[in-house]
Symmetry: C3
């Protein structure tokens, strides 16, 4: 594939506003025919966790992190003015009024356009997240070598 | 234009320290003869708002966001240690002592070097920001397709 | 050198989680034979400061910044849930359990793989950091022109 045809995005942040930017770029690029790779790591991985499946065998630190940072598309905080979730709720209202799709809808759009979702193995290990508790939209579980292979073939690579 | 001649920067953050990094790179690249595109989105858009023109017809959520995040180059917070603006003020003092230009001066330099400023349509719609309330330095109001077209022609693309 | 053989990373953030991501990418790329350049600026510069050498001749603002943001690999906060260092300590425990090297070890690995460390002159001037108080692993003290020259030769450039 030609180098110009790929876009690779590291979704490091689990914040609604940054994820929204990441998905706007990802779906925009995919809609124009590009191969798009999204590599979810660290806080970004929380987006890919199922909300109804609790991970098992967590140690106490992983439990605390799991409680303090909620999983799933509906529970993303915003990077500023979150105010215990009130800011995020207000932003979601604003986005709806501007007829901007929700994160959940953006995930569906991204998948229908062939965007590849990779979950970072190292972050999964650190946070005690297992494959079984990730949403089925995840295509791939891999590490930095996989990211670098994608990035090399991309005309645009972003850390968000 | 040759691919090596362009640099594209997404200014997502409205923080002084990150904007300062974005403008240092932008003016540095433009001074060395490169075409530089800055795409202002989300919190970054606050930099481009005029401070003496209040946007009209805002809903209550947009009003709250408008009050909590002040517009203009003089009112940017810093990403850490902001301490209700005191940290930002201290940082500006330090920068002045090191004879580093202010954000306002950097905007002027960027424009005189031909840096293209694009304001993100989607963010404008979400926050209720209209074209009339943006500073005249803005060249262009556009969405993700415009960013992707610029990024493809760039040797360096950064999300800041 | 072929464009595909270089990776350039701006380490702007001084946060443990983001530095960890930066070093994972840097060492991964270097291990696969790429030239990797890390450009440390702003808060990221705190990683390169020696902890046992106090900078001299600081003004009062630089002193306050110096006290509020501690130098060195051991004292990095995390970008979320830092909770006065408790979150960072917990994350370090989790990383150790997953047998992930510490930041200090990652610095050593990066250097043994030939990763180039550049400290940003402008940030040093602003924060009052002198060459003598940086760790010996720093190869280079330079500004934005040096970063741009590296970035142009890179297939992947990230702002972290």
């Amino acid at each position: 594939m030609d180098k110009k045809d790929s876009v690779t995005i590291i979704a490091f942040s689990g914040d609604l506003d940054k994820l929204f930017a990441a998905f706007t770029i990802a779906t925009g690029a995919a809609a124009s025919g590009k191969q798009v790779n999204m590599f979810f790591t660290f806080w970004g991985l929380k987006l890919l966790q199922q909300t109804n499946k609790k991970p098992k065998g967590l140690n106490w630190i992983q439990k605390i992190f799991g409680i303090m940072v909620k999983p799933g598309a509906e529970k993303r905080p915003i990077s500023k003015l979150n105010m215990a979730g009130m800011g995020a709720m207000m932003l979601k209202k604003l986005m709806k009024r501007s007829r901007i799709p929700s994160l959940k809808e953006m995930i569906a759009t991204a998948k229908s356009l062939g965007v590849k979702f990779t979950a970072c193995t190292t972050s999964m290990s650190v946070m005690g997240i297992t494959k079984e508790t990730l949403i089925p939209e995840v295509d791939n579980i891999a590490g930095v070598a996989s990211f670098l292979a994608d990035a090399e073939k991309s005309s645009v690579t972003l850390f968000i």
